[in-house]
Amino acid sequence: MNDESLSRRLTLLGVVLIGISLVLMGKLVWFQYQMDPKTKATLEENRENRLFQKVEVQPDRGLIFDRNGHLLATNSFDYQVGISPNMVLDRQQVAAQLAPLVGLPEDQIYHALEPDENGVYSSWVLLASRVDFATGQAIADLDITGIDLDPRPIRVYPQGKLTAQLVGLFAGAEDIKNSRGYYGVEGFYDTLLAGQSKRVTTSTIPLLEESETNTDVRDGISLVLTIDRDLQNLAQEVLNDAIESDQTATGGTILIMNPRNGEILAIANYPQFDPDDAEGSDLDLAKNQAVQDFYEPGSIFKVLTMAVALDLGTHDLSWTYHDPGCMEGRGNIICNWDDRSRGDPDFAQVFIESLNTGTATIFEQIGPTQVYPKLRDFGIGTPTGVDLEGETRGILNQPGDLIWSENQFLTTSFGQGVAVSPIQMLTAVNAIANDGLIMQPHIVKARIDGNEVIEATPSASHRPISEEAAHTARDIMVRVLQENQDIEFDFPGYTIAGKTGTAEIPMPGGYEPFQAGNTIASFVGFLPADDPVVSVLVKLDRPQDYWGSKTAAPVFETLLRRLVVLMEIPPDNLRYTLVAEGGNPFGREY
């Protein structure tokens, strides 16, 4: 080959290479700007799928604290355990290692790790949907190839049974997205606690920014309750002791409130619900009996009869009537608790002696037209609006209702034929304690939204009675505890207003026979009577000694002995001195 020929060939090769390069570059340009739209869309979709994934970012659920900052509900996590059989080398060893940790038989795990009949291994199998943190760590420490530990959020209730019925529970599904709050605060404030999730398109390459957020993710708002954990524990202990030491008692409630601002300080119910054993427990126990259940209150309802009469002005302290012991009602006989006549008792004596004939006479004289609107003013037959899920409205039959009768109107005067929830009853009595004004009962003291704390302002609900009538009713309630010798209550040093109640339990066609284990005993009261900071309702279901004065009153006394220490409520003489000296009569802020 001569030089000229070689030169020509090299030139030709150069031209060809440059030509090919130009064609490729031209094709690239065309590909970039003149691509078939369908091809372009397909390629872009493939790119999106490969580089991006759409996920829903779940917010953290809000925490729940008591008034002193103790956690009542918080978030934690446990693990979902899975494994990729196609990555496991020694199935027998892995099965032996995992069996005790995930709680499955060794052969079952071994079988899950085997290939199918075609010899194909699964890419992933679930071994346990939930194992706790310690177990998860133990599995991680085994360092098994192919093991997959996926943290899953869970709700934790550190105080356990103590606050379960008022906090409620968070449940519903394996994934947090489809779960929700039920009962109590969790149920009522579910939307606030849940926060707001967001949809995000995230890149598999972290340097690329997230996009397509429909809104910002917003963590749930945390709640500070009015509940005092120490008071709650006290109420629960006293209630448990009372019921467990009683041969026939089946349940009960102690409700503690501040009548001045409507705060709920403690709600203890029996039986309790264990949130750590939600699957094994009866879910019906999770409901808050103080709010969701109603009962015929019996004689504690007489304080409302008294307040109604005093406020309407139809009766005053000088009023008297002739007490026959038993009287003809409207189609039924109404008797005093002991069937005895007290002669011609006055207005106060009716309540001090808890005379059914007296209250029935008072209602008869006032008439249903005036009584029922007043009872509604006290919140009987209507929900109080407390911020706890599932509140009952109770039962208050009125003229025009199918099952209303004149006899029922008369028995309503002593708390039979009417049904209330414990919180309805105590809220109504709070009107007497708080100079005639009902404060809106509530359980949330503050909301924490990020760094912002929003305090709940106590609000007056309404005024069912005048201040004067409330003071007169209060003074009679003080005399009930001072003058009724049948009430087993002795707590010197403090002026306390109270009233006992013993209610028969309705059954189809009438009431259960009046005997041990067939009544609901209760006590309602507040202290210090002249400047109340705390009101209490004690309710015992089916106690052995069926009178409220013999069962509920001693429980109230036991509770008070420890409560005045815990709440730092000084005896009256000391309190008066403190006030005279300019000191704070109450050591703790309530």
């Binding site: 030169s7 103790h70 934790v156 550190p158 340097l207 002995r561 220490v565 000084p570």
Partner: protein, 157 residues
């Protein structure tokens, strides 16, 4: 004649000159391409490394958040009332009764006395000197600046 005097090998080498130029040009293009590719490769690998680091940090952050949540729950459970009461009993504490409480009256103390909020005394602020747009103004400004720098230097030393 002059052409005849030129050495023959010089003329015969001339075609190779063009080839060399072409090869040199192509080589240059290749080298530049390699350099660009290398730069791209370096950038890509740096990006990937950073991405991996970010992923690891993201995982670490998630782990820390989970640990915090778990610790908060653990602390709350350790501080739960039954545990605290059991521990207190082990340490010999008991619940106070009403006989154990003493209320003390402190003479002159009023719980609702007005809070005395200290009010700050306003510090006099020197007025900013105003310089006009004249020569003397400019000179004054320069002098003040110089003086300020000297003061700062003296305080610093």
């Amino acid at each position: 004649m002059a052409d005849q005097n030129r050495p023959i090998h010089t003329r015969s080498d001339q075609p190779w000159q063009n080839q060399r130029q072409l090869v040199a040009t192509l080589s240059l293009v290749v080298v530049v391409g390699i350099i660009i590719a290398a730069l791209y490769l370096i950038q890509t690998s740096t990006t990937t490394t950073t991405a991996r680091e970010l992923l690891a940090m993201d995982d670490y952050r998630l782990g820390l958040e989970l640990d915090n949540e778990r610790l908060r729950a653990d602390i709350a459970e350790l501080q739960s009332l039954p545990r605290v009461m059991t521990r207190a009993a082990e340490l010999g504490f008991r619940e106070a009764g009403d006989d154990d409480i003493q209320y003390i009256i402190v003479d002159g103390y009023r719980y609702d006395r007005p809070q005395l909020t200290p009010t700050a005394t306003p510090t006099p602020v020197e007025a900013e000197p105003v310089y006009d747009e004249t020569l003397s103004g400019w000179l004054r400004k320069q002098w003040d600046n110089l003086k300020q720098q000297f003061d700062e230097w003296r305080e610093g030393s």
